[in-house]
Symmetry: C2
Subunit: 228 residues, 2 copies
């Protein structure tokens, strides 16, 4: 009986890692679409999101069954409850990737991302994909060092997010309000994607250690304009 | 034993409703600060958020204890697991209110919100407060009709969010990129605040009925500019 229980726990971890892996693939595709004004990805990612949500629902149902039928305690209980939260975080990461893909088509045939912030958005995309990959490894291994690496990656994303605001409010910004409005939203999607990767890492950390992983400071853009 | 268990369940609902009520008060204060460029609220709301998070942590710990010691099933199990999620959603609503208050001080002594979108932001603030109040009543009563009213309120918020984008990308917008960038972010905070109220309503609906509350369509701004 306990063996079957632990097999189900293991299968939950496999599916959660799979969910994280899918958000990585989705964000990779979305970021590519953003830099090339690719219309097709928006619909494809909507489908991917449906499948991701479906997978999340099966995790949810199995976690519920475990709670109801096996009444786990201590670390096993933490693992099951964390699974519920991680599924929700990964699902949200998928939704944010789909938002990026959708934003990519907003000014078609023009690109949403002007040349002078292309590298910045490429960095945000690469960082987001790396964070989802790290979250996947963290879920697979339960390794607290990997969990810390996710937090470091998030610090990098926060820095990129601040750089974006510096660009947008600089007197040299020459792409107008519409482009800026689009990019603020897209930047926010990346930042939140990273935050959810951190949430996943924190939950795995808690699951492994029973204690909370402390975070570095505030992810919000600065209250006053940075020097341009 | 069962009595004590149900008393603890009741006390969870009381604390969750209290959390929703606090997010309403916080968002009311934050929205006021936004329209008056009040610097003091940002620090006050940071304190309020700390208290809210503390309350959420006690809900979390008690829900865990219930799972570990009482092994609830069926509707009781749904209630305990929903409590974990609702506490997380309410905590996030508080964080978003704190973000709004912080954004309010971003252009001090100027206001972040120009005159011609003041009414729009006043509406967003009022809608957000109403949604938090409705979420509170939904949690208190478990009433599925109230849960549906939260979804209706969210539709109104999505509509206001779309109106904001229409303003920002209109040729008549005369407040420049910095103001637009601030307002996109603040608008997003309001929209996400409403989304979390909906999440709470959906969880209560699931807790009461064991089935999912279906939602209306997409909360994202339109892919193409609306007519100004």
């Amino acid at each position: 009986m306990r063996n079957e229980f632990h097999e189900t726990l293991d299968s939950l971890a496999v599916d959660l890692a799979d969910m994280c892996g899918r958000t990585s693939v989705m964000m990779h595709a979305a970021s590519g679409a953003l830099l090339t004004a690719n219309l097709d990805q928006a619909d494809r990612l909507q489908l991917d999101l449906k499948r991701l949500t479906g997978l999340g629902n099966t995790v949810h149902d199995r976690a519920y069954s475990l709670l109801a039928l096996q009444a786990p305690v201590a670390k096993d209980l933490r693992t099951v409850v964390c699974a519920l939260h991680i599924a929700a975080d990964a699902d949200r990461m998928g939704a944010l990737a789909a938002h990026v893909a959708r934003a990519a088509s907003r000014r078609y045939p023009d690109r949403v991302v002007p040349d002078d912030v292309e590298e910045l958005f490429a960095d945000m995309g690469a960082t987001a994909v790396e964070l989802a990959d790290l979250a996947q490894v963290t879920v697979q291994t339960g390794d607290t060092m990997q969990a810390r690496r996710v937090c470091d990656g998030d610090d990098r994303m926060d820095d990129l997010h601040r750089q974006l605001f510096t660009h947008l409010i600089s007197p040299t910004w020459r792409h107008g309000v519409t482009a800026a409005a689009d990019l603020v939203l897209v930047g926010r999607f990346y930042e939140r994607f990273a935050d959810h990767a951190v949430e996943i890492a924190r939950r795995v950390y808690f699951q492994t250690t029973g204690t909370q992983l402390s975070l570095s400071a505030d992810p919000m853009p600065p209250a006053r304009p940075l020097p341009g």
